[in-house]
C-alpha cells in the first residue's frame, strides 16, 4: 500500500476523531470509530487503497444522509403547527430521513411529466448508450432515457402499490370492523377464511391467480388486495374488539344508533393510530410483492415504465460491471426502507416500547 497523503490523512482523521470522542467520554462513538480504524488496517492490507476509498465514500454518503435528515427535521419542526413540531423534535434521524425520501418520491410521481426530460416510451438514442449531457443515467435496452423512465416509474409502480394497499386496507378494515361489531358466526367465518388465505405463501398465491386470470392491472390489484387484506382484518378486529366492550359503545347502542354509525363515529376514530402504522407496513409488503411480480415479467406490462421490469430488462448489463439495473432496484429498496423507518418510529411512539 502506497503511503500517500490520502492514506495518511485517512488514518490521522480517524485516530484524531477517536481521541476526541474518548476525551469527551462518548463511549459508543469512540468504540465505533476505533473499531472502524482497526477494521481499516485489515481492509487496507487486504484491499489496498481502493478499499479505504470505498470506506470514505460510504462514510460520506452516510454523513450526507444524516445531514439531510437533520436539516429536514429542523425544517419540519419550524414550519409545522405546534403538535407536529413537538413530535418532530423528538423524532430519530432515521424517521426524518424516511419522511424526506417519501416526500421526494411523492413529488417525482405527481409531477413526473414536468420533471422527466423525455417521455416514458420515447426512443431517443442507441441501445445501452452511456450517460451524457442529455441523458443523466444513459439509455436502456431500447434506447429510452433511463432517468425519465425512473421518474415515471415512481408514478406507475408506487401508484399501483398504493391503489392495491388502499384496496386491501378498505376490504380488511371493513371486514374486521364488521366482524368485531356483529360477532357470532360472521366473525367465526371471516376468521377461518383469513386463516386459510394467510396459510398460502403470498407470492405463490399471486402466481397461481395470475396464471389463471392472465396479467392485467385490474386483476393484479384485486389479487394483491385479497392476499394482504387478512393481515388488516386481524389487526382491525383485535383493536376494534377491545373498543366494542367499552361503556360508550354500550351507551350508543342503547341510544339506538345503527351499525354504520357505531363503526364510523365510535370505533374508527379510536383505532386510527395502530391502523396508520399498519398501513405503512402493509404498503411495504404490497410494494415488494408488486415489484417482485414485475421483475418476473408478470406485473405492469411494457412499454409502461416500471421499476421491477426495468431491473429485469437491464439485468444483462450487470455482467459487464455496470450498475444500471441496480438503480431501479435501489429505488425500490430506498422507498421501502424509508417507509419502514417512519413506521418504526410511529410504532415506537404509539406502543410505549420505551424500555
Amino acid at each position: 500500500m502506497a503511503l500517500n497523503y490520502f492514506v495518511i490523512g485517512y488514518y490521522a482523521l480517524l485516530i484524531g476523531a477517536s481521541c476526541m470522542t474518548a476525551h469527551y467520554n462518548m463511549r459508543g462513538a469512540f468504540l465505533a470509530l476505533f473499531s472502524l480504524t482497526l477494521a481499516s488496517f485489515v481492509m487496507g492490507i487486504i484491499g489496498g487503497e481502493p478499499a479505504l476509498w470505498s470506506v470514505t465514500v460510504g462514510a460520506g454518503v452516510i454523513a450526507l444522509c444524516a445531514g439531510t435528515a437533520f436539516a429536514f427535521r429542523e425544517f419540519l419542526s419550524i414550519i409545522l403547527p405546534h403538535e407536529g413540531a413537538k413530535a418532530m423534535r423528538s423524532a430519530p434521524l432515521t424517521a426524518s430521513f424516511g419522511l424526506f425520501v417519501i416526500g421526494t418520491y411523492a413529488i417525482a410521481g405527481i409531477f413526473a411529466p414536468i420533471i422527466a426530460p423525455f417521455g416514458e416510451a420515447e426512443v431517443i438514442a442507441q441501445a445501452f448508450e452511456p450517460a451524457n449531457e442529455e441523458m443523466l443515467l444513459g439509455a436502456d435496452q431500447l434506447g429510452r432515457d433511463l432517468f425519465s423512465r425512473l421518474v415515471y416509474g415512481a408514478r406507475n409502480t408506487v401508484g399501483l402499490a398504493l391503489v392495491a394497499t388502499i384496496a386491501a386496507f378498505v376490504m380488511g378494515a371493513l371486514a374486521g370492523l364488521l366482524a368485531a361489531t356483529v360477532g357470532g358466526w360472521f366473525d367465526q367465518f371471516m376468521g377461518r377464511f383469513a386463516d386459510v388465505i394467510m396459510s398460502i405463501p403470498s407470492l405463490i398465491f399471486a402466481l397461481l391467480m395470475l396464471s389463471i386470470f392472465g396479467t392485467n392491472l385490474f386483476v393484479l390489484v384485486i389479487i394483491v388486495a385479497i392476499i394482504y387484506s387478512p393481515r388488516v382484518f386481524r389487526l382491525t378486529r383485535a383493536v376494534a374488539g377491545n373498543i366494542v366492550v367499552m361503556d360508550y359503545i354500550e351507551a350508543a347502542k342503547l341510544r339506538g344508533e345503527g351499525l354504520w354509525y357505531l363503526i364510523r363515529r365510535e370505533i374508527l376514530p379510536n383505532s386510527t393510530a395502530p391502523l396508520i402504522a399498519e398501513f405503512g407496513l402493509e404498503f411495504c409488503f404490497v410494494f415488494l410483492l408488486v415489484a417482485g411480480l414485475s421483475f418476473l415479467g408478470l406485473g405492469i406490462q411494457p412499454p409502461t415504465a416500471d421499476w421491477g421490469s426495468m431491473v429485469r430488462e437491464n439485468a444483462t448489463l450487470i455482467s459487464f460491471g455496470e450498475i444500471t439495473p441496480l438503480i431501479p432496484a435501489g429505488a425500490i429498496a430506498l422507498l421501502t426502507v424509508s417507509v419502514n423507518f417512519v413506521v418504526d418510529w410511529m410504532l415506537y411512539r404509539s406502543s410505549g416500547l420505551k424500555e
Binding site: G28, A29, L31, A32, T94, D195, V196, S199, I200, P201, S202, L203, I204, F205, L207, L208, M209, L210, S211, I212, C284, L288, A291, G292, F295, L296, G297, L298, G308, V311, A315, I318, S319, F320, G321, I323, P325, L326, A329, G330, I332, A333, T336, V337, V339, N340, F341, D344, E355
Partner: protein, 318 residues
C-alpha cells in the same frame, strides 16, 4: 403429559384440515378458468373436435369432485399428471428440481439460523446502545430490499468485480460437494441476508420481552452472575419463541426462493413455477403451488408443535 399430547394432536388435526382446504382452493382455481383447460390451451381458433379430444385425454368429461379425488390421490404419491406444454409427466420434472430447491433452502438455513440467533441475543443484551441501533438500521435495510436487489448487488461486487464466486448457479451431476457449495454460495447468501435480518429482529424482541419478566429481575437481585442468568433462567423459556422464529423464517425462505432462483438462473422449483405461469401450463403450476403451500404449512405446523413441546409450563401436570 396427556395435556401436551392432546394439544399437539389438536394442532396436527387443524394443520391437516388447512392442507385439505388449500388443495381444494388450488384445484378449484383452475376450474375458474373462463371455459376450461382444454379451451384455454387450444385457444379461440380451435375446432370443436380438437377441444373435445383434449378434454377426453385430460379426463375433463368426468365431474369435478371425481377429478379432484383422482388428482389428490395422484399428488400424494408424487404423480401430478402430464404437463400441458411438454407432455412429460410433471412428477419427473419436479422431483430433481424440488431436491435442488430444498438443498438451497437448507444451505441458507444452515448459515442463517446460528448467525441470526447469536446476533439476536447479543443485540438484545446490548439494547439501546450504538451497536444495537446500527444493527437495527442494517436489519431494516436488508428486510426492505427486494431479493433481486440484494442478489444483483452481490453478483456485482462478489462475482463481476472481484471474481470470488460464480454468478450463475448452473449445476451438473458430477460436481463435488465442495464445488456445489461454491456454485450455490451467492444465491444462498442472498437468502441469508434477508432471513438473518428477520430472525435477528424477532429473536431480539423475544429475548427483551423475556429479560423484563420479574423472575429474571429476581435472579439478578439475588446476585446471580449475568451469564448464568442467561443460561439457567432465560434460555429454557426462550426456546419456544426462538424455535417459532426459526420455523417462521424457514417458511419465509420458501417464498423468497422463487425470486432468488430467477436472479441466479438456479434450476429449482421456483424457476419452474414462474416459467409455467408464463406458458400457462396449469398442471405444473398446480403441482408447484401445492408443494410450496404444503411445505409452508408443514413448517408452520412444526413451529407450533415444537413450541408446545418445549414450553416448560405445559410439561408438568397442574
Amino acid at each position: 403429559m396427556s395435556d401436551v399430547v392432546s394439544i399437539v394432536l389438536k394442532r396436527l388435526g387443524l394443520g391437516l384440515i388447512t392442507l385439505f382446504v388449500i388443495s381444494v382452493i388450488i384445484f378449484l382455481a383452475v376450474e375458474m378458468l373462463p371455459g376450461d383447460i382444454a379451451q384455454a390451451v387450444l385457444g379461440q381458433g380451435a375446432t370443436e373436435e380438437n377441444v373435445a379430444a383434449l378434454r377426453k385425454q385430460l379426463g375433463l368429461d368426468q365431474p369435478a369432485p371425481i377429478r379432484y379425488l383422482d388428482w389428490l390421490a395422484g399428488a400424494v404419491v408424487g404423480d401430478f399428471g402430464v404437463s400441458l406444454v411438454t407432455q412429460s409427466p410433471v412428477g419427473e420434472v419436479i422431483g430433481p428440481r424440488f431436491a435442488n430447491t430444498l438443498f438451497l433452502a437448507c444451505y441458507a438455513a444452515a448459515i442463517a439460523v446460528p448467525v441470526a440467533i447469536i446476533l439476536g441475543v447479543i443485540v438484545a443484551l446490548l439494547r439501546n446502545t450504538l451497536f444495537d441501533r446500527v444493527a437495527n438500521v442494517m436489519a431494516l435495510t436488508s428486510i426492505s430490499s427486494p431479493e433481486f436487489f440484494l442478489g444483483y448487488v452481490l453478483i456485482l461486487y462478489l462475482s463481476v468485480k472481484t471474481g470470488m464466486f460464480p454468478s450463475i448457479a448452473k449445476l451438473s451431476p458430477d460436481m463435488t460437494f465442495f464445488e456445489l457449495l461454491n456454485r450455490t454460495f451467492l444465491p444462498a447468501l442472498t437468502m441469508v441476508l434477508v432471513v438473518v435480518a428477520h430472525m435477528m429482529r424477532m429473536t431480539r424482541a423475544a429475548i427483551i420481552n423475556l429479560l423484563s419478566s420479574p423472575y429474571i429481575e429476581m435472579a439478578r437481585l439475588k446476585g446471580v452472575p449475568a451469564w448464568r442468568v442467561i443460561i439457567k433462567h432465560a434460555l429454557p423459556n426462550a426456546w419456544a419463541p426462538i424455535i417459532n422464529v426459526v420455523a417462521l423464517n424457514l417458511a419465509y425462505l420458501i417464498t423468497g426462493v422463487v425470486l432468488v432462483e430467477v436472479v441466479f438462473v438456479y434450476p429449482g422449483i421456483g424457476q419452474l413455477l414462474v416459467d409455467s405461469v408464463t406458458k400457462r401450463d396449469f398442471t405444473v403450476v398446480q403441482a408447484c403451488c401445492l408443494i410450496f403451500a404444503a411445505t409452508f404449512i408443514l413448517l408452520n405446523l412444526a413451529a407450533d408443535v415444537l413450541a408446545i413441546i418445549t414450553n416448560p409450563r405445559l410439561r408438568y401436570k397442574k
